[in-house]
Amino acid sequence: MVAAIKVRGATVTFGTHNAVEDVSLDVLEGSCFALIGGSGSGKTTLMRSVLGLQLLTGGSIHVAGIPVDNSTDGLRRRARLIQPVFQDPVSSLSPRMRIASLFREAGQLAGLSRSESLDRMRTLFDSMAVPQALADRYGHQISGGQARRIVICRALMMTPRILVADEPTAGLDLSAQGEMMNLLQQLRQEQRITIIIVTHNLTVARLVSDRTGVLHKGRLVELGETQNVFSSPKNDYTRRLINAVS
């Protein structure tokens, strides 16, 4: 299997503090990878580094063979490969632009004409059960659940091969969590999209990920097949985490 994402010796230092220290892992194409850690573990910094929003102090990251940097050129090249789904969907939509305008903008960046962009938007809305009327609204005029779907649709405008979901279940009640995760599962199955979920929700990680990595204080303390990580963790911290939710 091809590695969609290769992280080698990634280190991110802020002043004297190592937010991420010497992390190496592979995410295989078409798989689902769970990056687990508490607050302060460095998982958000690592995620931003993979996306190209945060520059590495040391090490390297490759997405589909392309080295990751935070230049606009680099981001543009990788925009058709990897897209984020951030935690707060309403804040992920530019407040003073209509949703249709946001999709036209995304379409333009994906190389589509105005009408093609809107067509693709309509198709995506249908596939995600988003009412077409929402396209005329603004971010603050739609519910959180609808915003979540719309944000995923916008990410899909770029036809990415990889989706990175940042705490997809945070702040949601269990049913809404289920809906969100089912959406990601659907994308994975129907379009063979590689999914990375960054989370502290171990139950969700257990149920959908093929491989899991556990971060603690910036270091990768556990890495392996999810089944093995959860049934026989090698690291003490992992064991403590699992016990806390069982």
Binding site: L51, G52, L53, T72, L75, R76, R77, A79, I82, Q83, P84, F86, Q87, D88, S91, S92, L93, S94, P95, R96, M97, R98, S101, E105, A106, L109, Y138, G139, V151, R154, M158
Partner: protein, 285 residues
């Protein structure tokens, strides 16, 4: 995009009209604008028409506000003075807003050294007392209207710049900015399309509240002889002339003072009404 602006403007106007200060402010402003813009076209006397035999006359039918020491019609001069004050204040504030916002926003988005330099620049400019700065510039470059505008704009650049910078620093870390970066949008376009529209609100409010301040500064400088050069009448110079000839006739001073007061009051009321109208007072969860 324009639709929502129009709708917002409509709502804003309605809210301003709801407040007594807003209604009075708008009414006064309308009156002032009428006199200032239409006045010079319809008034019978030219502002600089000297008519010494008719000097220092009290208000009459032919000279509603009286005449000054050279027989010039005060109403005509006040009308031009109002126009000068309005133009200078609007141009200076707009200039300050544009320059301040561009520097503040760009520096904050770039971060690092650019941001530090912008902060230092703003601190340096605002460290100078406005009057000292005025004296220095006038002494070096002469007392011209354009210098006056540049001077005033300079004094207010840090004001707008700091607000723009603070707003941008907050927005920088917002998820939607990161999302736009991930789509491959370049930094200048992100600033223009996504940052500026979200930071312009407070800037416009501050601009509307700074207009009366600039009017007062301009009048003050003109009063000191550092402002608009003669023969263009400024409310400040009118006030000074009236002050000199106060013993011979109170009318020139009284009329120009009243005009200045009305102008400042009307713009202050409108500025405060705009601020209150945009204030999010409803607490929602």
């Amino acid at each position: 995009m324009t639709e929502i602006h129009a709708r917002k403007r409509g709502r804003l106007l309605r809210r301003i009209m709801h407040m007594p200060t807003g209604r009075i402010g708008l009414a006064l402003t309308a009156a002032v604008l009428f006199v200032a813009l239409i006045g010079p076209w319809i008034l019978p006397y030219a502002p600089n028409a000297i008519d010494v035999p008719s000097r220092l006359l009290p208000p009459s039918l032919s000279h509603p506000l009286g005449t000054d020491q050279l027989g010039r019609d005060i109403l005509a001069r006040v009308a031009v003075g109002l126009r000068v004050a309005i133009i200078i204040s609007v141009v200076a504030v707009t200039l300050a807003l544009l320059v301040g916002a561009v520097i503040g926003t760009t520096a904050a988005m770039l971060g690092g050294i650019a941001d530090r330099l912008a902060a230092i620049l703003f601190d340096t400019i605002s460290a100078f007392p406005a009057v000292v700065l005025a004296l220095a510039i006038i002494a070096l470059y002469g007392a011209k209207t354009s210098n006056l505008i540049i001077l005033v704009a300079l004094v207010f650049v840090p004001h707008f710049g700091r607000i723009a910078r603070a707003q941008t620093l907050v927005l920088r870390n917002a998820p939607f900015i990161a999302a736009e970066r991930m789509l491959g949008l370049s930094l200048p376009i992100i600033i223009l399309r996504h940052v500026v529209p979200n930071t312009i609100g407070p800037l416009l409010i501050v601009a509307s509240m700074n207009i009366p301040v600039v009017i007062t500064i301009e009048a003050g400088l003109s009063f000191l002889g550092l402002g608009v050069p003669p023969p263009t009448p400024s409310l400040g110079t009118l006030l000074r002339d009236g002050y000199i000839y106060l013993e011979q006739s109170p009318w020139p001073a009284a009329m120009s003072a009243t005009a200045l007061a009305v102008l400042t009051l009307s713009s202050t009321l409108v500025g405060e009404a705009v601020r209150d109208a945009v204030d999010p007072r409803i607490k929602t969860r």
